[in-house]
Point group: C3
Chain length 444, copies 3
């Protein structure tokens, strides 16, 4: 047993180490990626500073995810959730720098895949800043899944899956939209800050992973009953939501135009999206006559944020408020749907990022400043939204089925009941606090 | 009983929903608020970026308040405290955007009230940025009360009170000071970042609410004994103080002049204010021969920050250090006074924001860079400080008396003893940790 | 006993109060430090904004240290750890403003010590911004020690030690490197953001303190066995590491050149350093066949950050990744060495800041953009690295020996077992949670 666990963690360490070795090799050999420094115009300086700050704010969202997800998990899995979030920052950064960025932003004559700028060593400050900023987006996209699969996936399996997201699923879809040569970009697809590129891809990857993985033991009984598994530290979850909201200002703010004339509108829309998402979630719980839960309210704010991310630059404030409120409603509806289909998403990542991301893409087409309704624009948005679903969901499902068939995807039921911290990490979150152990349905 | 609780939360949801509906209606009809885009000068770009960042930092203070207040409350009320802070961000943003901003910054010929710019949809980037920044200040002002009334006020009653603050109490006083046509502005009243506008108004609103609400059960015995009710998570409270300090850099920094020549002085003064507040609080505890408590030290830092907020732009560093140190002393004195008059402020918000805000306004008149003592300047400051007290305190008291007489202000004693999380939210902060239930004076 | 404790805290309060009084006196008398305002060029505005933001980010690292260190300590010492971090921000700010800044950046004809600009009241915005930024670095340097000495040092003794660091140990070494007239600066010593100035000085000061203080009771048995003492709140520790990483973007980013052409490279290098540090730590645990611990992974990221801090401006990305990975390895090696020599560092501050700082200084000489290996450059780096060790370690050891001989350095064994919160602060971190009291080796 012990040997088996060592084998597991060693695989994880190996993956990470390989990333690095590969990187050094590529860097030293890939002279082509070492561009000369461009000349900076005076107006570029402010741009560099702002995108740098926006990227720093997006980085901090990693902490927000770690807090939200570990707060909503049980105490016995705290270290596992944190370790996933902490280590996938490393694998995302290294993997996206080495491979993903080139696939996403490299020369893309086919419109389906970038082919240059791997392991970039550019001395061009502007290009380098884009790399820094985009690395943070890649880290966000790959970490979205971590909450959904919490409390039963092996640590090594997770790191492999997150790495596949960073190296393949995320950058390929991204090259269709954010690479100016991408086929969706050419169609005029609107996704300013990534409702589709980041959140749909993250959410549908999570759905694929959860389908391959199965629900937590005890979540759904054989008789069809649904059992809620409460989070162990709701203040931590609330702080996580606040941190995500805070970081989202940079996530959307980085899409401002070069003269910053729309920066205020973007920030205002972002804030209104979150606030209306809260109102939408409160309203949905009122209409569905369920208790007014804080956990759902937090997810409502996040759903509102996801819903205005695609159109943060083109919506008017009242449109952002409307889109956000509908996002908040959809979170509650999505959580209900998941339960009906007996799909277990431990933190609600699929409704927040997948469903609201889908809605956000449509909303960006429906709500386009003062413009009248434009059926063609909405059609393009629908194509892009379905493209994300049809690309990310099957590929993710396939990836995790392959992982299941090879290195193993899920911890044993015994380890799940003891908690992943004990089984996989040899450390516990709260060494001194006695815990009212929650039952996993079978035994304590 | 259950029915009654549903009625309560449904009222809360309704309020929030009404906010939104009202907003959409106003927006769609109020064509007048849809100004054309101004032309941005090159020097405006940096201004937009800085005010955007400052607003983002002020937003993060919402998380700081949530952490500080929930850490200082008991575990059984954690979710309630967090929900109040999370949801009042939504009501403040929506309410201030729709109504408050117009009252505060609209055309103000009388000097007593603004009358335009409701539900602003402006395409002018500079005006929009001011809206974004000011929304965050409104959120701060309305959330100050939440800590003082913690652990016994109904959730719906709180949201109504916070909404009244955002829609009426805060913006009307604000229009006197920060609207260039306001009567206090015309007198030359100094309040750079809001010792009066935000902190006095917030602190005296809290005092009015607490007077209408009464102390927590068991806080003061019939024999006149005072019982301390310790916070359940002091690390969370300490993090909250750090986050507030961090966000305050934007709170004060946004008052920098357009050439940023005084930005460094403002940031330095802000930091010195907090540090001297710590020293003042430590010193006061030494002089009063009480134990050196961390909770009071945290409040000392915040009191120091409040004390230099009005004069952050016009004080020299040694003056900021002096004002902050006195602020730290006043926190301890204020907490003593509250106990003497048997007023129960669960987190010390009234001394920190009300008392130190009052002092900060005076200090801005006394300490004016190199200038000599100017009796007239100090007199104007006194008028403004008393205006805040005489406006916010009675109006808040009245508001909460009306709430008490209609929807109900306070939870039942039984619900107070069980905790508001169980009684009002159906979720608990720490589902797995056994808690050494603290006695409420009567029974467990 | 009670009397004795009062004496202790009163000493602490006195020190802080003296700082302030001294400051006011110096300010009012030192007219020489009141420079006239310089004229700001248009390109200075952006610089002021960026350095202001960078300083705000560095300030937030204080919160990161507080979280990391208190999470890694036992619950019974939480308040003590937090109070140390909160109060040393005050003593550092006041002490460095009054004295340290002048020693470090004042006129320095000898190359060994600055002699002007004490208690600066300058109206020059650029100079003032440098003061604000440098104050935050001084606070970082002096707080590094606090984690290493946790759980057994008297609160007053700590504050005295931290003040000596701020007033003497840190600024004098700093004047050699960052004062353009300093002797190491004249040699061409490379330390862009302070692997030596901040981290080596902080780490070796911690080592001196720990040597004078001795290990925690029960950490090393008489038979030579080493007992791990697990932290009480690992989510808090993980959040602390994220916050430090976040703040480090400003810590290194403030070294960008005035046209910001290298800002992106610096941010990218910073992020790669942390990520590679994680990979290095994971790899080291794999190679040493120890469990994959989260606590060591967190320290690996921090070690990677320290390792690229000196060369963040001059390294290429692949060099930063290499330096960071080695930093992660060195953290694990350093922790092993400390255990071998029975030195008790409660949080691993000495390996992270001392050892990785040393390596970071060397790395900045080895990895210098495209430049070939330059033995002279590496020699200068070695001289600077040893200068930090030979200056900070003996001086710190001496300081704490003097404190031990006078006011007393260590709490009694009984107080250590009861916890410093109870013994020194009259407040506990978690008033309501029952704690599975960890044994101190002798008795509960």
């Amino acid at each position: 047993m012990t040997h088996d666990r060592y084998a597991l963690v060693s695989r994880a360490a190996l993956i990470a180490a390989l990333d690095l070795v590969l990187g050094l090799f590529l860097c030293l050999s890939a002279g082509s990626a070492r561009a000369d420094a461009g000349t900076l115009a005076s107006s570029d300086h402010l741009w560099l500073v702002w995108i740098g700050i926006a990227g720093i704010l997006v980085f901090f969202m990693q902490a927000g995810f770690a807090l939200l997800e570990s707060g909503l998990a049980r105490a016995k899995n705290t270290v596992n959730v944190l370790m996933k979030n902490f280590c996938d920052t490393a694998t995302s950064t290294l993997g996206f720098w080495l491979v993903g960025y080139g696939l996403m932003f490299g020369a893309n004559p086919s419109g389906w895949l970038g082919t240059s700028n791997f392991a970039m060593q550019s001395q061009d400050g502007m290009q380098m800043m884009n790399l820094f900023y985009q690395v943070m987006f890649a880290a966000t996209a790959s970490t979205i899944m971590s909450g959904a699969v919490a409390e039963r996936m092996r640590f090594a399996a997770y790191l492999i899956g997150a790495t596949v997201t960073t190296l393949l699923i995320y950058p390929v879809y991204g090259s269709w939209v954010w690479n100016s040569q991408g086929w969706l970009a050419q169609l005029g697809f609107i996704d300013a800050s990534g409702s589709a590129v980041v959140h749909c891809v993250g959410g549908w990857t999570a759905l694929g992973a959860v389908l391959a993985l199965g629900p937590r033991t005890g979540r759904f009984s054989r008789k069809g009953e649904v059992r809620d598994i409460p989070g162990h530290n709701l203040p931590m979850a609330a702080l996580g939501a606040f941190v995500l909201w805070f970081g989202w200002m940079g996530f959307n703010g980085g899409s401002a135009s070069r003269d910053f004339s729309d920066l205020a509108k973007i920030l205002m829309n972002t804030n209104l999206g979150a606030c209306a998402g809260i109102v939408g979630a409160l309203g949905s719980m009122y209409l569905m006559r369920t208790p007014i839960l804080m956990t759902r309210t937090l997810n409502g704010a996040l759903g509102g944020l996801v819903a205005i991310t695609a159109g943060c630059k083109t919506m008017d404030p009242w449109q952002a408020a409307t889109a956000g409120a509908i996002g908040g409603l959809l979170v509650a509806w999505g959580e209900m749907m998941l339960e009906r289909f007996r799909i277990d998403d431990a933190v609600g990542a699929i409704p927040v990022h997948g469903v609201c991301g889908f809605w956000g893409v449509i909303a960006a087409g429906l709500f386009y400043a003062d413009g009248p309704f434009d059926a063609e624009r909405v059609m393009v948005q629908l194509i892009g939204a379905f493209a994300a679903l049809l690309w990310a969901l099957p590929l993710s499902y396939l990836t995790f089925r392959v992982i299941r068939a090879t290195v193993g995807l899920r911890v044993s039921t015994q380890d799940e009941q003891r908690g992943l911290d004990y089984a996989e990490h040899y450390e516990v979150g709260y060494a001194e606090f006695t815990s009212a152990q929650l039952n996993d349905g079978k035994q304590s």
